[in-house]
Symmetry: C2
């Protein structure tokens, strides 16, 4: 927890904020703060700054807030991800929030198990706590938007096409030669936004691949090695960020 | 398990091989093989090929082996990693074996907890099973060499310098601007080997950083965001591989 994140509703119009629970415990036990110490603070989808410890008591911390840095820009990388199994989804949500993504489209695919959509985390859209862990790690405040698309065809035919003009790089992940990244790099990278589509364990089927290629996606890879989805997500987002012009 | 890995001692001079346990279970239950079906097979640090199922019985599979592809080359990327906590080390070992590394140097650093070296996985060098999981995933047979260096100074002063001529890119990971990767890329990447040094949670201290810089390491980053060590490993190895000339 490199940043203490507050919900917008927790930020008082004026005066100090009082924290309890996980964040207070972190300030007291991990950071070992004393009165007058400062901690980095941010507001979800809002500004960053610092909090000065006014008071610590059993499990409670009172902070005086100075939120003097504007909200960072939303990351210029989006992710289309075939819905992974719940235990992996939790970890991936934290990872992508830490690495920085604007939107995550969780989509169906032939090789996605139907039961994954029935899992509590998906059915009840319990994404927020996992995303916050990633933001706290990376000291960002921009919560990725996560949407669930339980039918592949309406997603690629109706929902995705109107968004495509946002992206000047559309990458379709598949193990194989790594020429795409080199080519995009030599062409100057991406100037607007990048979207990366990553398939399920076992990969996209040909029909799914063809739909992405029709929409102007180009096959991109991290080499011929077959990676677990969570590793592939980190590896591909890392390369996507490299393509964003500084 | 995209590749059934055999230990060299398991491979008969002639005749079929009989498997039990985890691998037999995978062939029977996950792959659902029947007699005459083929599975991808490899020998640790050796050749790859396929096995034809001759017989399946309760928990046992007999395979006829054809090992007709030579061992893949050892990956041209090595990793210096400040020893992470055991639960993270396990995951990282699988990840790095899947992504491809030749050597892993697990080193001490000021912000590494002493207790990590006393953990069973480190004290007893129980790395192999975690590495094999990664190789099975990536369909590689080259087991990364893992060594443990519990004193930082002898490592950077005595052990590392004689190896440095192997590397024409020496990267020292630190959050910050991403210019190094862009620069190395524009200079044509690496022609021999790359070594990447990744610090502990909390980062290297200045003394440690300075030792690496003195040895010709250049600071490289995946951007300003502070990542967990396992995410940083995947993100940086992904970029390192991109620098290897095809």
């Amino acid at each position: 927890m490199n940043l203490i994140l507050l919900e917008p509703t927790e930020v008082p119009v004026s005066g100090p904020v009082e924290l309890s629970g996980r964040r207070a415990e972190h300030i007291i036990k991990v950071l070992g703060c004393k009165p007058k110490d400062q901690v980095r603070v941010g507001v979800v989808d809002g500004a960053r700054g610092h909090g000065t410890v006014l008071d610590l008591s059993s499990g409670r911390v009172t902070l005086d807030l100075v939120l003097d840095s504007p909200a960072p820009p939303a990351p210029p990388v989006d992710l289309i991800l075939a819905l992974p199994r719940p235990i992996m989804l939790r970890r991936i949500l934290s990872t992508v929030a830490a690495m920085g993504v604007g939107r995550v489209f969780l989509v169906n695919a032939r090789r996605v198990e139907k039961s994954f959509f029935a899992a509590t985390i998906v059915a009840k859209r319990e994404f927020r706590s996992h995303l916050l862990l990633g933001l706290e790690q990376a000291m960002d405040t921009r919560l990725p938007l996560v949407s669930v698309h339980d039918r592949f065809r309406p997603f690629v035919e109706d929902e995705l096409p109107p968004l495509l003009h946002h992206y000047d790089a559309r990458l379709f992940a598949n193990p194989g030669p790594e020429d795409t990244f080199r080519l995009l790099w030599d062409q100057g990278g991406a100037r607007t936004r990048i979207v990366v589509a990553i398939g399920p364990e076992g990969g996209w089927i040909d029909y799914e691949r063809d739909r992405f290629l029709e929409l102007g996606f180009v096959t991109a890879s991290c080499g011929p090695r077959v990676l677990k989805v969570d590793t592939a997500v980190a590896a591909l987002l890392s390369r996507a960020w490299l393509l964003i012009s500084p």
